[in-house]
Amino acid sequence: MNFEELQKTWQAQPAGVRVTIATEALLREVRRNQRNFAVLIFLRDLRETGLCLVAVLFFGWQGWQHREWSTGLLVLACAWVGGYMLVDRWQQGRCRPVVNDPLKHCVTHSLQQVNHQIKLLKNVLWWYLLPFDAGLAAYILIPSARSWHNGLDACFVTGFVVGFCGLMTGALYWVNQYAVRKELEPRRRELAALLAGLEGNASPEAKP
């Protein structure tokens, strides 16, 4: 059997499977899915930025009550992190791959998004962890410095704060890098291989 005969058989293929579609149920499901997707996106954005907003309001109110300027640094850090996430989400939402695009465009967009996520998580120290650490350290150390009696007090409190922030930062950084290695890098390699297949490129690797 040559290719043309195979093609002829393929085009005249018997169903092989019998499909029963409940059209009304399908339409209900697609409408529900569309609503759920919008809600899901809204809740995700709310969760990610909501915590920062609550922190800004809480520490802002506290700083105002106690007339403590150092609290302002923590408020600024929280506002920066929340704002950064919002702007990034908005920018990424604008270049989300569209399912009716040609396959190559869709894969290229998906690869760009994965590369962006990798970049974001690899730099999480600079835009998320350190600003928050700096704000937290200022929030604790500056008011407590007024009650230090000697160098030992200073060393003890500073050491505790630096140790706590360092441990917390290290743990969060490790979790983020683990996610990059275990989830994002394999997905990037897969998409890069797919794109290479579409471009006739021998090397499946693509630089992030």
């Binding site: 059997m1 059209t23 499901e29 190559k104 997905r187």
Partner: protein
């Protein structure tokens, strides 16, 4: 596009292009539960894509794009399995139907083997094989995949040989 128009077009596409959607689904997913799952994903993606459909692309090109993009995302595990949702379709494997003569391979068996061979291919080659077997022109395939017609030609040459070789082995076994 009004909701009524969207629903009308969607119903018509389901009637007219169900075969096309099923071929993509069967070419990308092996087991019936996976096929059901992927088919539902394709339907949802198609519905969501409808408001953007302006009639500039052919309907079949549009449906192929949506189906392939959805199938690739589904294969990468980017879409969650649809658990606990309302089921709106049922796949049942039909019993084999009449071979034309006693020593001929049943057509259904040939098609099943072709699907199995397609599922072994890399995703882009599988997409090309499905469209080529369906008789799409180079231009139509280029529109679906977003690559040049020349490159389609090069890939198809390789693919035809590969499928023919695979097929010889399968036919021999049968």
């Amino acid at each position: 596009m009004t909701a009524h128009e969207q629903e009308t077009i969607f119903r018509r596409w389901l009637e007219e292009h169900l075969g096309l959607m099923l071929k993509v689904v069967r070419g990308c997913a092996a087991s019936p539960p996976d096929q059901e799952d992927l088919f539902q994903e394709v339907c949802l993606a198609l519905w969501s894509s409808l408001p953007a459909f302006r009639g500039e692309a052919r309907e079949t090109t549009w449906i192929y794009r949506v189906a392939f993009n959805t199938a690739l995302a589904w294969q990468r595990g980017e879409r969650r399995r649809r658990v606990g949702h309302e089921t709106f379709l049922k796949f049942e494997v039909s019993p084999q139907v009449h071979p034309s003569h006693a020593d001929a391979l049943p057509e259904q068996e040939i098609v099943a083997q072709l699907y199995a061979a397609i599922r072994q291919l890399p995703p882009v080659d599988a997409s090309l094989a499905l469209m080529h077997l369906d008789g799409l022109s180079y231009q139509e395939m280029a529109e679906v995949l977003g690559i040049s017609e020349n490159y389609i030609g090069v890939k198809l040459n390789r693919l035809r040989k590969q499928l023919a070789e695979q097929w010889q082995g399968v036919a021999h076994e049968l």
